[in-house]
Symmetry: D3
Subunit: 68 residues, 6 copies
Amino acid sequence: MKLSARNMLKGTVVDVVKGATTAHVRLDIGGATITASITNEAVDELGLKAGQKAAAVIKSSDVIIAVD
Amino acid sequence: MKLSARNMLKGTVVDVVKGATTAHVRLDIGGATITASITNEAVDELGLKAGQKAAAVIKSSDVIIAVD
Amino acid sequence: MKLSARNMLKGTVVDVVKGATTAHVRLDIGGATITASITNEAVDELGLKAGQKAAAVIKSSDVIIAVD
Amino acid sequence: MKLSARNMLKGTVVDVVKGATTAHVRLDIGGATITASITNEAVDELGLKAGQKAAAVIKSSDVIIAVD
Amino acid sequence: MKLSARNMLKGTVVDVVKGATTAHVRLDIGGATITASITNEAVDELGLKAGQKAAAVIKSSDVIIAVD
Amino acid sequence: MKLSARNMLKGTVVDVVKGATTAHVRLDIGGATITASITNEAVDELGLKAGQKAAAVIKSSDVIIAVD
């Protein structure tokens, strides 16, 4: 499967914290950590757990640029 | 200024392509490139150009997780 | 590849309109049409054209519910 | 009221699961199911419950295209 | 029509700038100006023009909080 | 720090409601209230509490226009 989303950052799952409906997944992408808010159902379906290889997919229209 | 957005990836602007209203900015974050779609006005106001230090700010609710 | 995004609507590309930097892709998902705004680069990389099978991927946090 | 959002998918609420602050609403749009993550307050204000007619509203900039 | 989106800011259209595919609409909400990036098709369909009453609809998951 | 996001609405925090993982923060921007869904971690890191000065940052691609 190929995606139109321009950004795919590969990494390793650091931890998964499930809430009542929403989970937070942190990904070590080498030099930085990415946090994703996803559904608990997605965590279960993808079997996400610490140590697993995964990627962060981000649409370019969701990226803000910041400068000092 | 501090932001609630969980993800701030620091890097260097690779290039800036302005369209009619929407610009694409690519950022080298070291090992990966991030593309952002922002307004031409933002490019002008921030004075974005190749070689400049900048960061990509991404809200965690905009991050999708992918696994093979 | 499996995605955390909860919504994947399969269909056929109706048309692709490229702008200066941003393209609009319409997808017939059977009974409804989905419009996506994506980068011209994504259109080229995926080789999107009318008649092609494709899917619309949408994160559940990007869905608003409306009632009459 | 008319909206600039290009995508409005009409359907019927399948179920509503409220969490601590965030609810998941599933909509049967005929041939596919859409999941929306919305606030508990929105669920209460709209009186969302299974069997109710509703629509999923999605901005085109939030749609990713996938191809095999 | 009622929406799950928590934020609806009423105002008056200041100006509409159409690009090749994407338009920028500015709304005076009284004390502040909101910029929206929407499709040219939406501008046409809603007949948006300066002086018109309109509202900005924003999902709460798309709002970032900033503090000094 | 300067941001590419076109919309920054200054106000005062009305209340903060933390859930299991996701918090809702309401901001009085003078004449209107903005609700933001952010992570509990962001609430803690920014020390958000009622009465505090804060701003809502919103990317223009996340704004929908509505007309009657």
